[in-house]
């Protein structure tokens, strides 16, 4: 493996920091200006992110002209710990460049859309402040030049996501969902921190170039530990099994948030982390297998649950879980598939953002209802939303020649190419996932836009204003074409990051996979069309156990409850009991004393100090005993 080095930033590229500063400045102004900014605040938000997009394009252009294809920028030293210096450094290379374009480009469209979507919300200025804050944090995440900076962005997007999910804080569901997201993420973040400490302990650095160059010298156990810890962090942020439960609940936030954060950008941070650490993951086949298993499991899990949901945003959320599963599968397979994962991520960013914004447009028309059982026949009243949603639908199910075909098929082929029986298993899972995706997305599409109207009485659907449909149209076009346009140029563009790889030959030829996938997709979509073109019941019917299980998130919640909540509650009530008897007793005893029973107080008080003293004494005995044990060994 060649030595990895990054060239120092020059010219326009030395302004990489401005990419982050623009939205951060917007957020600061919006938060500090207060109500004075209510009138124009949203336009400031849109402008800063638009300017960031323009700058990202310029940087992209300068990077393309470089030979080394990387620009490294050191600002200042943040921490210096025992000889290790941690710099505030940025790295602009092909991988972060495509992410910057996705974040600022799609982010810009969604910002514009949100101007219309949030028009009647009293907190619109605050919303745009948080939205800008998110963009800034996400850019720190992908531009960070070492794991520490990535972690700073990682925590920042977590905070912004929490603030935005709980934006409608008076809705208890939204507040709970926000908390759930934050806590799940914090648990997974422990993995990130420990991975960093392991790097510091073994390599003495968290700088990307130094870690990657030194990774080969790590023992197998250490690289396994670092890989698994990073995987845990990635799973938390990306809603992968076993951390998937927070993502669908996050749909309680405003729809533009779901589109930007919980579909297009933040949830793909896990994929970024694994792709960025490709050197570490490629070192250890066991880690790669773990990533593949997580990806394959999650893509099926999400697809199965998606089939049973009736809430338009939740179907899309589970579909996000499932699609990110595909990306994990790809980056887990390694080699040539790293680039495939990134391409699917970019294509997904377009079509899933479009689908979410489309669903927001539908909700706008239907008085914020989300139950697809009560939609139907909307294609006539909202033609633009319909057309753009159709584009997203065709893209996600992956029919030739739409986006998903170019981004998902190669992943399925790569899965089949894995050696031995594993290839058949993960390939089969990916193929089954494609069929299921076609089924649930067609169900969603048909139930929403076709068939008889099953509206509740008080709705009068109408097309959304131009400020919302404009971004929809652009994203729709992107959904149709992005995959085909990006597939081979992006692979080439990313060569400096992932290295040159040859397409592996496996159990099936590419043609065979294409035929099988197309057949699976047509089968899934056709079945859904047949079942649901005549509409469906307006309320869910009693169903057989597989459907019931899927409606219950395949038991994900039950597992949470059984495995974490119940023992947690037990531990909590146990410590409450201890606290009640031992500690609160003092306070209670005192109030009894004020009531006049001083004798009781006396016994209580001496009792307690005695018990405290006993604790100290027993502690001292233990200390002496432990010293003796060590010494006599």
């Amino acid at each position: 493996m060649d030595e990895i080095s990054y060239a120092p930033a020059e010219g326009l590229l030395s302004f990489t920091w401005a990419l982050i500063a623009l939205p951060a400045l917007g957020a600061a102004v919006l938060l500090l200006a207060g109500r004075r900014a209510d009138k124009w605040g949203h336009w400031l938000g849109v402008t800063t992110i638009g300017a960031a997009f323009a700058l990202a394009l310029g940087l992209f252009g300068s990077l393309a002209g470089l030979e080394n294809k990387s620009a490294h920028l050191d600002l200042f030293t943040i921490l210096s710990v025992g000889g290790t210096e941690i710099e505030a450094s940025f790295l602009f290379d092909p991988l972060s460049a495509v992410f910057c374009l996705l974040i600022t480009g799609v982010g810009f469209l969604i910002h514009v859309y949100a101007v219309g979507y949030m028009a009647h919300d009293a907190g619109r200025r605050k919303f745009f402040a948080y939205f800008n804050l998110f963009a800034a944090a996400m850019l720190v995440l992908v531009l960070g030049g070492n794991y520490f900076m990535t972690f700073v962005g990682w925590e920042g997007v977590g905070l912004a996501s929490y603030l935005l999910i709980a934006f409608w804080q008076l809705k208890p569901a939204a507040a709970t969902a926000g908390k759930k997201a934050f806590l799940t993420n914090r648990v997974a973040d422990v993995g990130f921190l420990l991975a960093m400490f392991t790097m510091l302990g073994t390599l003495g650095t968290v700088d990307f170039a130094e870690v990657f160059n030194g990774a080969a010298s790590l023992s197998a156990g250490t690289s396994l530990a670092i890989g698994l810890l990073l995987l845990a962090a990635a799973c938390g942020k990306s809603g992968q099994w076993p951390f998937q439960t927070w993502l669908p609940d996050a749909m309680e936030g405003p729809t533009p948030v779901s589109a930007l954060i919980h579909a297009a950008t933040m949830v793909t941070a896990g994929v970024y982390l694994i792709a960025r650490s490709n050197v570490i993951f490629s070192l250890n086949p066991d880690v790669q297998t773990a990533v593949v298993v997580v990806g394959a499991l999650t893509l099926l899990f999400g697809a199965v649950v998606g089939c049973a949901k009736d809430d338009i945003k939740r179907v899309l959320a589970w579909s996000t879980v499932s699609q990110i599963g595909y990306m994990f599968l790809a980056v887990g397979l390694g080699g040539a598939a790293f680039a495939l994962g990134i391409i699917h991520l970019l294509a997904h960013g377009f079509f899933k953002a479009g689908l979410f914004l489309g669903s927001g447009s539908v909700m706008h028309a239907m008085n914020d209802q989300t139950d697809i059982r009560r939609f139907g026949g909307l294609w006539r009243t909202m033609p633009l939303t319909y057309a753009t949603f159709a584009a997203g639908w065709l893209a996600i199910i992956g029919l030739f020649p739409f986006s998903g075909y170019f981004s998902k098929d190669p992943i399925i082929a790569a899965a089949f190419a894995r050696e031995g029986w594993q290839g058949w298993v993960v390939g089969g899972a990916a193929l089954l996932g494609a069929a299921l995706t076609a089924f649930y997305m067609t169900r969603l599409f048909v139930l929403t836009f076709h068939g008889p109207k099953r509206w509740t009485e008080d709705v009068h659907p109408h097309e959304s204003p131009a400020i919302m449909t404009g971004p929809l149209v652009l994203l729709g076009l992107g959904s149709l074409a992005a995959g085909g346009l990006m597939a081979s140029p992006v692979t080439e563009w990313l060569v400096p990051v992932f290295g040159e790889h040859h397409e592996p030959h496996g159990h099936l030829t590419h043609m065979q996979v294409t035929i099988a996938t197309t057949a699976a997709v047509v089968l899934g979509a056709g079945l859904a069309w047949l079942l649901f073109r005549g509409g469906t019941d307006e309320v869910p019917r009693a169903a057989a156990w597989p459907v019931r299980l899927a409606r219950a998130d395949l038991g994900g919640e039950a597992v949470n409850r059984g495995l974490f909540e119940r023992p947690g509650r037990l531990a909590a009530s146990a410590s409450v009991a201890v606290d009640g008897r031992v500690v609160d007793g003092a306070v209670n005893g005192l109030s009894a004393a004020i009531g006049g029973s001083s004798r009781r107080l006396l016994t209580l008080q001496t009792g307690f100090v005695r018990s405290y003293a006993l604790s100290i004494l027993s502690g001292a005995v233990i200390v002496v005993a432990a010293l003796m044990v060590v010494v006599t060994q």
Binding site: F76, T77, I78, L79, S80, V81, G82, G83, T84, F151, V152, E155, G156, L159, Q169, G178, F182, L183, R186, V187, D189, V190, L193, L194, F197, T198, L200, G201, G204, A571, A572, S575, V576, D579, V583, A586, V587, L590, A593, I594, Q605, F608, V609, S611, Y612, A613, S615, I616, S618, G619, A620, I622, V623, V624, A626, L627, M628, V629, V630, V631
Partner: protein
């Protein structure tokens, strides 16, 4: 200086201590000489001026490395000036200035938090009468004595001086704990508990000191370290001595299982005193631990490593788990202070590799926690502090400014990036990893993840809950408490965003004399 055989004193090195103690005695004279109405401003000015000059004296002493007292050129161990000692003295002085301002707060509640005459029987007619009076101003000289004791504690080079300093810092604190104007019985109970248990712990200290003297033939820390290698005495003396000294110091540091007093005393004591204890005493206690283990017991590290590790783990996990169920903000902060003692113990165990980072952690934590207690003292139900968390629900609606400040402090305690809590934890844990203490660091990270939960629950409560009916009011602080909050928040943010300068200072100041 070799020609003179008498006692030489480095007065400049001694200046910080002298200034504080002289000011404390002057404060007692002020009580006798100045009319009652003017005592408060005089006392506050005196205390702040003394602490500020002590801080300046510490800065002047920077780079000094040696004993304060020496005979014929040979340094005596009693008081030593070295990097860690000076840094900790400076930290204590700076934190004490902030704490004194909080003690002086008289606007949030009329007359302040302190009783006018502590000898009046609680809840008697006379007590109810005196609730309208201004609080006693003796608290300022008492605080100065305690602070002087702390500053001496972190620079003592032998066990005997350290014991004197320990008592000097403890006795005024016992008294201060019992001086609350409201809920006096709880306050007095806290003082008595703290006193009894503190005396118990001191007995351990003296016994341990005797054992170590028996082993080493000296109470000088460097001499004990030397004896750890060369003494011919039975090592049993050393082990018992180490254990007993450790128990006494861990009691002050509030490590499990010597922590039981902490929640009761933190809750019962007047909030400004709690702030003083949580910030300054924490610094002093860990300063003492660092010095004893780095200078005196480094040669026997292998013997005590296991038991200190067990205690650190128990402290980190115990503190965090107990904190989860707390419904009272002062109790929550008390258990969080216990958990933080656990993280700091990692720094003690890691010895020389982590001294600087431990000191940074102490400074960062001190400012954050002092500001947190200051905010607690602002939120009131009538005259009493609203310490029950349910009363804090929806505070963000009625008092957004206070809620923002408290949110920042909670996020810092939870260790989020861009706050001092994160940089402090990160640098401490990173240093510990490099000292091969990865296991402890894993426990530390897990514990702080648990501990983040109660903090974030407070944040959620502040912003996302509906205000309770008859919600407590946030009293506008006077410039005194306002300065405390502002200083605490500023330090929290500055050390979070640009900690470089202070990390550099602790890095240079991290070598003990005689190690």
């Amino acid at each position: 200086m070799s020609e003179s055989s008498g006692l030489q004193i480095d007065w400049a090195g001694l200046a910080p201590l002298v200034i504080v103690f002289v000011a404390a005695f002057a404060g007692l004279l002020v009580e006798a000489a100045v009319p009652k109405a003017r005592r408060l401003p005089v006392q506050v000015a005196l205390a702040v001026a003394a602490l500020a000059s002590a801080f300046v004296a510490v800065v002047v002493n920077a780079d000094k490395n040696g004993a304060v007292f020496s005979i014929g050129g040979t340094g005596l161990g009693s008081v030593v000036i070295d990097g860690p000692g000076l840094f900790l003295q400076g930290t204590i002085a700076a934190l004490a200035i902030v704490a004194v301002l909080l003690l002086a707060e008289r606007r949030t509640v009329r007359g302040g938090d302190f009783v006018a005459e502590a000898a009046v029987v609680a809840d008697s007619a006379a007590d109810i009468e005196q609730r309208r009076e201004d609080g006693a101003t003796e608290i300022f000289p008492l605080t100065l004595f305690a602070v002087g004791g702390m500053m001496m504690f972190v620079t003592s080079g032998d066990l005997l001086t350290m014991f004197v300093a320990l008592e000097m810092l403890s006795l005024p604190l016992y008294l201060l704990c019992g001086l609350a104007k409201r809920r006096r019985l709880i306050s007095q109970e806290a003082a008595l508990k703290y006193f009894l248990l503190g005396a118990f712990a001191s007995a351990f200290y003296v016994y341990g000191m005797a054992m170590l003297y028996g082993f080493a033939g000296t109470v000088d820390l460097a001499g004990i370290n030397q004896a750890g290698v060369s003494s011919g005495q039975p090592r049993m003396f050393l082990y018992i001595g180490v254990a007993m000294i450790a128990v006494a110091l861990l009691f002050k540091a509030a490590a499990v299982p010597f922590h039981m007093w902490t929640p009761d005393v933190y809750t019962g004591a007047p909030t400004p005193v709690t702030a003083l204890m949580a910030a300054c005493v924490k610094v002093a206690a860990f300063g003492g631990l660092l010095r004893v283990f780095n200078v005196g017991l480094a040669s026997s590290a292998w013997d005590w490593h296991l038991i200190l590790t067990i205690i650190a783990v128990a402290t980190m996990i115990g503190g965090a788990i107990f904190a989860v169920t707390q419904r009272n903000i002062k109790r929550l902060l008390a258990y969080s202070s216990i958990a933080n003692a656990g993280y700091l113990l990692i720094g003690v165990i890691a010895l020389g590799d982590a001294v600087g980072q431990t000191m940074f952690y102490l400074a960062a934590y001190g400012f954050t926690v002092i500001a947190a207690f200051a905010v607690v003292s602002l939120v009131r139900d009538g005259d009493e502090e609203a310490t029950h968390l349910a009363r804090w629900a929806g505070l963000g609606k009625n008092s957004p400014g206070t809620a923002v400040v408290f949110t920042i402090l909670m996020l810092a305690l939870a260790g989020l990036p861009f706050t001092s809590g994160f940089t402090a934890k990160f640098s401490l844990f990173a240093a510990a990893v490099q000292a091969d203490e990865l296991g402890l660091v894993i426990v530390g990270v897990v514990s702080s993840a648990i501990l983040a939960f109660p903090y974030l629950r407070v944040v959620v409560l502040l912003w996302l809950s509906e205000p309770a009916p008859g919600a407590p009011t946030v009293n506008l602080p006077s410039p005194m408490a306002g300065t405390v909050v502002a200083a605490g928040v500023a330090a929290t943010l500055v050390l979070g965003v640009a900690p470089g300068f202070l990390l550099e200072i602790v890095d240079q100041a991290s070598t003990f004399l005689n190690t």
